[in-house]
């Protein structure tokens, strides 16, 4: 029973609207990219089976469902996260400056037992835009910030080109595994009224 918790890793992706959170998820899980921006509609979370060192895990990647636009994510969204991915757009300085707010928001809302060591991963997305010419945040600057926050792993990605996305998510998965769930004490026998729905596509779930 406790293994259910071990097998399932909850990852949440935070960052300003339009930095490419949904695109990164879609590229990683579905190997698809859409140029058409729509404020996220229709995605709750995506799941992907990953194999790390001979063990199988289900990565459950939670989208913000647009609730990040006015900083209106509820505390329930943050609960039980095993890893928090912070995304910014390398072409938009403000989205980089907001990373600190997102990190703090996460730590306040999720209140992990060991905030110093909670696994974050930072992604600088859209490095493909304009051949890198419109870039306003340098890799050096981003890495310096990550280093100052307890050496957060940093990846430069392009959801559009699929560049570095796989590597970034492998790192995310590895970090999520390392996160010791503090809630083991009482989680094992919770009742999930959706049955096994949390681990499957819910559309066909019948109770």
């Amino acid at each position: 029973m406790a293994s259910r918790r071990r097998m399932l890793l909850k990852v949440i992706i935070l960052g300003d609207s339009g930095v490419g959170k949904t695109s990164l998820m879609n590229q990683y899980v579905n190997k698809r990219f859409s140029n058409q921006y729509k404020a996220t509609i229709g995605a709750d979370f995506l799941t992907k089976e990953v194999q790390i060192d001979d063990r199988l895990f289900t990565l459950q990647i939670w989208d913000t469902a647009g609730q990040e636009r006015f900083q209106s994510l509820g505390v329930a969204f943050y609960r039980g996260a095993d890893c928090c991915v912070l995304v910014y757009d390398v072409n938009v300085t403000k989205s980089f400056e907001k990373l600190n707010n997102w990190r703090e928001e996460f730590l306040i809302q999720a209140s992990p037992s060991d905030p110093e060591n909670f696994p974050f991963v930072v992604l600088g997305n859209k490095i493909d835009v304009d051949g890198g010419n419109s870039r306003t945040v340098s890799e050096k600057k981003a890495k310096a910030w990550c280093a100052s926050k307890g050496n957060i792993p940093y990846f430069e990605t392009s959801a559009k080109e699929g560049f570095n996305v796989e590597a970034a998510f492998e790192c995310i998965a590895r970090n999520a595994i390392k996160n010791e769930p503090e809630e083991d004490m009482y989680l094992p026998d919770t009742i999930d009224v959706g049955g096994a729905g949390r681990q499957q596509r819910s559309s066909g779930c019948e109770c």
């Binding site: 229709g42 709750d44 109770c207």
Partner: protein
């Protein structure tokens, strides 16, 4: 939060919302508003959902203990809508919107245990869900079930009877195992349960039609029916108050209007028995959401957001926008001063519905229903080896003594007053993550109590009386009263009360007109009535739309194939 007046609508850092026109605007994120938001979004409507607070849930939220007192007794000088003072713009008129006081008579005692933030308190307590009730079905249909997990009320229910607690025999197994019942009582109860079960089976087409209880009997007051079945007074109390969940005295001298019929009683028993065993690892009929009831509105809001609803917390609505005749609301003016147009405005019940030029037939000020609630923290379970338990105090089970000082004779007058309504108590333990959850800290239990009342002080008195019956005060060391727990007798000492809070909440019903107001948390143990009126509000606005159809759960892998490459 909003602690300085918004000068000309731009004094605070309110964001600008785009677009400025929606099908539906909802203000407040209580459970009814959140379910409506999810239902409207699922029906393809454009939805803006705002809440003045920085958190979700409004009157249905679960809040950290240190925030409780400010929530129950908000600062009366909260700035009300200076932005609304702006003159009518264009073709519509702004009507200021004000909050009303929902809570009164707040009284706390004891020291708040530390770390206080580790305690999360429900504003709707005591409340549970039946495993088979509408709330669970709505969660499943909307996909909200992905966002909440539950625990069982594993200790079952206890009845407070003649000064002791007795387990509620609610099934054949529990009757069999019960050590407090006489053989005759067991037989009568068996027969009664069999009768009810045959009826339920027969009406659902599964059983022998001969098992159907006659219409005549179904229309009978349930208590009469139970008398016919020769149930003893204690067994009647069990069935009426701990299983059929009757609120008011069912066999008082004067026939009160709150008598439940056999039909209603059997309906609840049917729900009860279909709830037992619905989920493999749920014990008993009731479940409670991990982290508190405040998770439920968030789950529905998330469903709405996934379907495209726009969410803005920390955004009060300052005024309604009315059409020229002041007959219909056409939108809302936000605290930012921004005007949002909408076809339907839905507000949470903590906003007063302004008296408009149109006559309002719903006069909620006449004699508002009230519920007295209590929250307490104590050091050990009221029932040994059980973490989550429901305790029912049937009407008249406690003697109510009022000490009054007669101003003329300066004598203490003892007034005996009847406890007219059922008091219910729900004990929760740390396995629900609402109280202490660290292994190295002392164990703490929490309980919610409620009783419906017309008079605030009587209601509060009943709540305190129930607390006195189960707990001993902190200062009485060594000499605690004995509470005979017949179930697992350990020669127990009563649990010690560490902190408590008693208050009274008004209850208003949902109203629908061009402006929709949602129902407040009611006196019931479950959400059935609230969700029923929520559903009615939805069908009032969209008679042709299905209320959260099954297909409305989001698909978890993006199936749309608009690859832009």
């Amino acid at each position: 939060m909003a602690d300085e007046p918004a000068a000309a609508g731009a004094g605070q850092d309110y964001p600008t919302i785009d677009p400025t026109s929606f099908d539906v605007v909802l203000c407040g994120t209580g459970l009814p508003e959140s379910v409506l938001a999810a239902a409207c979004a699922a029906a393809g409507k454009t939805v803006l959902h705002v809440d003045p607070s920085p958190f979700y849930g409004s009157l249905y939220s679960s809040i950290p203990l240190p925030s409780l007192s400010s929530f129950l007794s908000p600062d009366p000088s909260t700035p009300s809508s200076t932005a609304a003072a702006a003159a009518a713009s264009g073709s519509h008129t702004a009507v200021d919107l004000h909050r009303r006081g929902v809570y009164s008579e707040v009284e706390t005692s004891g020291a708040v245990p530390e770390p206080a933030r580790r305690f999360t308190v429900d504003l709707v307590g005591p409340r549970v869900m039946y495993c088979a009730d509408e709330a669970v079905d709505l969660l499943l249909r909307s996909g909200g079930s992905h966002h909440v997990e539950f625990k069982s009320v594993d200790g079952g229910s206890l009845l407070y009877w003649e000064g002791s607690l007795y387990p509620v025999p609610d099934s054949k197994q529990t009757i069999f195992k019960d050590t407090t019942l006489k053989l005759l009582e067991k037989n009568v109860l068996y027969r009664f349960l069999k009768l009810v079960q045959d009826h339920i089976a027969a009406t659902s087409g599964a059983g022998d039609a001969a098992g159907i209880i006659s219409e005549e009997d179904l229309d009978l007051p349930f208590v009469k029916f139970l008398n016919q079945q020769k149930l003893s007074p204690k067994m009647r109390a069990v069935v009426l108050y701990a299983i059929a969940m009757a609120d008011y005295d069912q066999d008082g001298p004067d026939p009160c209007e709150k008598l439940i019929t056999t039909r209603e009683g059997i309906q609840t028993i049917a729900l009860y028995s279909s709830s037992v065993g619905r989920f493999a690892n749920a014990e008993g009929a009731f479940i409670y959401p991990m982290y508190g009831h405040g998770e439920l509105p968030q789950a529905f809001c998330r469903c709405a957001a996934v379907k495209g609803a726009l969410y803005v917390l920390r955004m009060p609505v300052a005024a309604l926008l009315m059409d020229e005749e002041k007959k219909h609301s056409v939108g809302a003016r936000l605290a930012s001063g921004q005007d949002i147009l909408c076809k339907q405005l839905i507000i949470d019940p903590s906003y007063k519905i302004p008296t408009l030029d149109v006559p309002f037939d719903e006069s909620d000020s006449n004699c508002p229903r009230k519920v007295a609630r209590g929250i307490c923290i104590f050091n050990k379970s009221v029932k040994q080896d059980a973490s989550n338990v429901l305790v029912v105090f049937p009407p008249k089970c406690m003697v109510m003594l009022f000490l009054l000082v007669d101003p003329v004779s300066i004598l203490d007058l003892a007034l005996e007053e009847q406890q007219v309504a059922t008091v219910r108590l729900l004990q929760l333990s740390s396995n629900l993550a609402v109280t202490y959850r660290k292994a190295n800290l002392t164990c703490r239990f929490m309980a919610y109590l409620s009783t419906p009342c017309t008079d605030a002080s009587t209601g509060k008195h009943c709540i305190k009386k129930a607390m006195d019956a189960l707990f001993s005060p902190l200062d009485s060391d060594g000499s605690q009263g004995q509470l005979a727990t017949t179930s697992g007798s350990t020669g127990d000492v009563k649990p010690t009360l560490i902190w408590s809070c008693v208050y009274v909440q008004e209850i208003t019903q949902g109203t629908s007109s061009s402006l929709l107001s949602c129902p407040m948390p009611d006196e019931n143990l479950d959400y059935r009535n609230i969700l029923e009126s929520t559903k009615k509000l939805f069908t009032d606005i969209y008679p042709d739309e299905e209320f959260l159809p099954k297909k409305s759960a989001p698909v978890h892998d993006d199936e749309d194939s608009d690859s832009g490459e």
